[in-house]
Each structure stands twice: as C-alpha cells, then as structure tokens.
Symmetry: C2
Subunit: 302 residues, 2 copies
C-alpha cells in the first residue's frame, strides 16, 4: 500500500487529523520519570526518553493515526538516544501508528540516498513511514528521497512554508512573481501529482510542511498542491488554532495532519491545566489533551 493510502486509511480509521509530535526534552519530562537520573548521564537520559515515549504511545495509540518523533532530541543524547529512537519507532509501528520522522535531512546525490536509506530504506535501522526533507539544495537533492520513498511505500514531507517567525527570510522572497515557498510548492505538486496519477490515487508520496501560523498561505498552498498531503506544525503552543488550519483540508477532511507536540506530551505542565494534574498523573494530562484536540476536529473527517 502506498504511503498516502496508508495515511488516508489511518486518519479515517481514527477519525482525526491529529498528529502527535514526540519531542522529548529532559527538563520538561515529568519528575517521576527522572528520579536519580542526571541530565549529563546520556545513557540514563536516553532510557528516560524511551520510557517516556513508550508510555505516551500507549496513551495516544487508541486515539490518533500518526506520530512524529523529532530526531534532534534523540540525537542530542548521542548514540544511546539513537538506539532509543529505533525502539520508539518500532513500538509505534507495532501499535499501528503511521510514523513520520522529523529530521529535515538534505544532501546531494548518493549522500541523499544514504539518508533516505537510513530512515526509509528496506534494511533501515530507523524504519519510518515518512521523513521531512529540506529543499535548499534543489531538485537533484530531493529526488533521491522521493525515489527511495516511492520504492518502499514510504513518503517525504518537503519544507515549504515553515511555522517559525523567521522562516520568511528566504521563503518569502519573491522571484519571477512567485515567493520561494511557492517555487518549492510548485515542485512538490508536480512531483506528487505524477506519482498520484501513476497509482490512480488522489495524493502522491511527496507532501509538504506548511505552518499553521500562516493561515492565508496555508489556504493558498492547499489549492496550489492538490496532490500533496500537508503536515501542519505550529498548532497549539506556537499559536495556531482550528480556524487557522480549517482550509488545510480537502472536501473529505483529508489531505492534512495537524501536529501538536508540547501541548500534548507535556500537557501536565500546561498553564491552562494548572492544578489539574499531579506530576504522577501526567499520562491523564496527555490523554485529556489529545482528546480535547481531537474534539476540536471532531466533524472534519467525512
């Protein structure tokens, strides 16, 4: 089954576009999971990340279709972190979740193939369903990812319009009457449409990252890339609301997944939950947050 078919089926089955970002940060993890572990003990921290991630996956797997582990936080604790990441990916897939690896990788030619093999390939140690990819190096740097993804029923999400305030430095510049992010979007659409046509599906294996924090551009980019799944970061802690992302979806309520990381995995520390959950009740906080977010999108999937 192609990646887009897999993602559509999973989103329909769970009836929600909610994507949970797995971004372990030592300082934000509930105290009860860190007893006796120093932040300088990388092996200890990696074990905490594994436990924390597994327990989050147990809580959210019945409710959502997909998760997005952020590679940077696992890499930050070194090789032990990368071993924990492999376990987290494997466990998430075992629970039936679609796993999107947020690595924002990019390089040229055979080096790009190396990254694609690492995260999407047949004998990959961190076998994910999809990987985020940066486009600065151009077409011949992204195509090796596309090829490996298509051959392995996996997907990629190319950074188009990111959610951060400074993203416009290059992305918003206008060349030949189009912004840089529109240039990137047009390349994504062309590539996604080709594979979608070939497979007789609505969406291709190449999607786009478009931030919830730029709702007008998000609506425009939905129309501009009818064959691309959108991965939408910036919801919740970064300020994006349901109204902001309402135009990210197609007429069936598909075509977009809305990421929330901190607002769900560190829900025990949310200001709007103050006094509601004890540290040891952090899993209840996670479940409450995921169900609340799910409720906000309750009538989206048709």
């Amino acid at each position: 089954m192609t990646f887009s078919a897999k993602l559509s089926a999973a989103v329909r089955a769970k009836k929600t576009p909610v994507l949970v970002g797995i971004d372990p940060r030592f300082k934000s993890i509930p105290e009860c999971l860190k007893t006796g572990v120093s932040e300088y003990d990388l092996k200890g921290v990696a074990n905490v990340y594994r436990t924390f991630s597994f327990r989050i996956l147990d809580v959210i797997a019945p409710h959502v279709a997909c998760v997005k582990p952020q590679l940077a936080f696992f890499e930050a604790v070194g090789p032990y972190g990368m071993l924990a990441l492999a376990d987290v990916i494997e466990y998430a897939r075992k629970l039936g979740l679609v796993v999107i690896l947020d690595g924002k990788r990019n390089d040229i030619g055979s080096t790009a193939e190396g990254y694609a093999a690492a995260y999407l390939g047949e004998s990959s140690a961190w076998k994910g369903d999809a990987l985020t990819v940066s486009p600065y190096l151009g077409e011949d740097s992204v195509l090796p990812f596309v090829n490996v993804a298509q051959q392995n029923d996996a997907g990629i999400f190319v950074l188009v319009k990111t959610s951060n305030p400074g993203g416009g430095m290059l992305q918003d510049l206008v060349a030949d009457g189009r912004t840089i992010f529109q240039h990137t979007a047009d390349w994504v659409e062309k590539t996604a449409a080709e594979f979608a046509r070939e497979k007789g599906e609505k969406y291709g294996a190449v999607g786009a990252v478009v931030g919830a924090t730029y709702p007008e551009q998000l609506a425009e980019l939905r129309k501009r890339m009818p064959h691309a799944w959108l991965l939408v970061p910036g919801f919740g802690a970064q300020g994006g609301t349901v109204q902001d992302v309402a135009h990210a979806f197609d007429e069936d309520g598909l075509g977009a997944i809305i990421n929330n990381s901190r607002g769900i995995i560190f829900a025990h520390a949310r200001k709007d939950y103050a006094g509601k959950f004890a540290d040891s009740d952090w899993e209840k906080a996670v479940e409450t947050a995921v169900l609340e977010m799910k409720a906000q999108f309750a009538d989206f999937i048709r």
Copy 2:
C-alpha cells in the same frame, strides 16, 4: 581559542587547504577490509567503517589540517554507525585534526539547539569542531547553531551555493536584485563579521559552503563574505579544479578549505590510477592522492 583561530593555525601548520571528506560507502571500500561482511549486517558494516576511517586518518593526519565526516553514511548503517562515528570523531581530534561534521542540519528554536548540542555542545557525544547547517528555515533557525558554536569555540558552515547541478532551483532565483544564495551569503557575512569584530579576528565562527563547480560565483562570494571561512566541495570527482578555486582564498592563502572525498579515500579505484595500486595497497593510494592534491596547492599558504 575560537574556531577560526584554530582552523587558521591548523591550515598554516600543515601548509595546505586540503580538507578530506570521510564518506564511507560499503561498495567502494577496499575488498580486503570487507572479507566475510555482508552489506545487510549493519553492525559488521559499521565496524568496517570504523576501521576504514581510522586507517585513513592515520594516513592523512601528518599531511592535512582538517577532515569532514559525512553523517549520512554513518546514519545509513543505524545506531552502530553512529557509535562508529563517535569513535571516528574522537580519534581524528586525538590526531590533532579539525573535525567538520557534514550533517546539513536545520530546525527551529529549541529543536535547533538540540542539534547544536548533539554535535557541538559541551557534553556532546559527537563533539565536532564545526557542523554544516542548511538555511531554508531562516535566521531564527540558524542563530541557535551560531550561539552554541560561539559558546563552545566551535563553528558552523551555512549552505550558500552548493556544488550540485540542481542547486540553482532555489539558490539561483533572483529576488530584490539578489540571488537567494546572495541573500544567504549576506546574512552569513553580517553574522560572521559581528563575532570577528568582537574577538578582534579576521574571520567569525560562521562560514559558508560554496561549490568549486561554480568558479565565478565562488570568486564573487569570497569578496562578498570577507569574514567567512569558505568550505568548498566539488573539487576532483565532481569536476572542480585548482583554477576553479583559486579565488576562494584571501591574500594569505587562508579563508578557504577545499574538500575532496572520493578522490582521496577511494583513490585505489581512481581511473587515472588504474593498475597502479593493488586492493591491499589502498592506503598507499590514499597517501599518493592526498600528497598530489597537496602539491597542487603547494604555494597557496603564505
């Protein structure tokens, strides 16, 4: 000592701008190192990468100032590859080499800090002297790398004009009278100049990646970024020549390091060396190639 002072001293000491790229690819590694190891045995492959890299480092350390391990190839063999990478970095630094990690990482805010901590931070498991960084996400995605680098006497090299044929897709677009790569270059120069002034040094902690395959742009970018070290890929196997990179240097022959990966580490298989080196003589081929490249730049450092 700042990164740029460290790099200047190392280049002067070895009297060469040659940078050796450590890009292990299983298929290209000498047969005598792979006996009994299958390409699907990731632990076995990682061990081959460690041995191969260590022996290259032994050969080249007396001759060159710096090396550039390519993270993608180590990641491609999973967590064991990342353990091998840690060992290779540690060994290279023990041999007195400046270690530039080619990871082309990028993300926003605290996630960028995660990557910076992973590769340049105080308690980093893969402690390098510098890291390559992609600029697509804009200023607030690169600054966390800059800050961590500056605080740890490390450096970063931002992708400006890459060596691949397709790099122009976004990089060559013209907005407000400047190409995208010039916009990136101007940001690099501003950031590098500020730190250089503060430290009373010629170069800052932020350098730029500019391909040898675009000699005119390389000459222009040297002038445009007087405070940035240039990391120049594309020499040798990708087609760049000594003439192509001649204008990358300042008046002291400093300010640029010229990368060669395949042409040195897989020299035993070079067409122009056909019949010259037995598989088991691969280290002689590596030494011959590095000395030949060094000779081409013999009178550059003043």
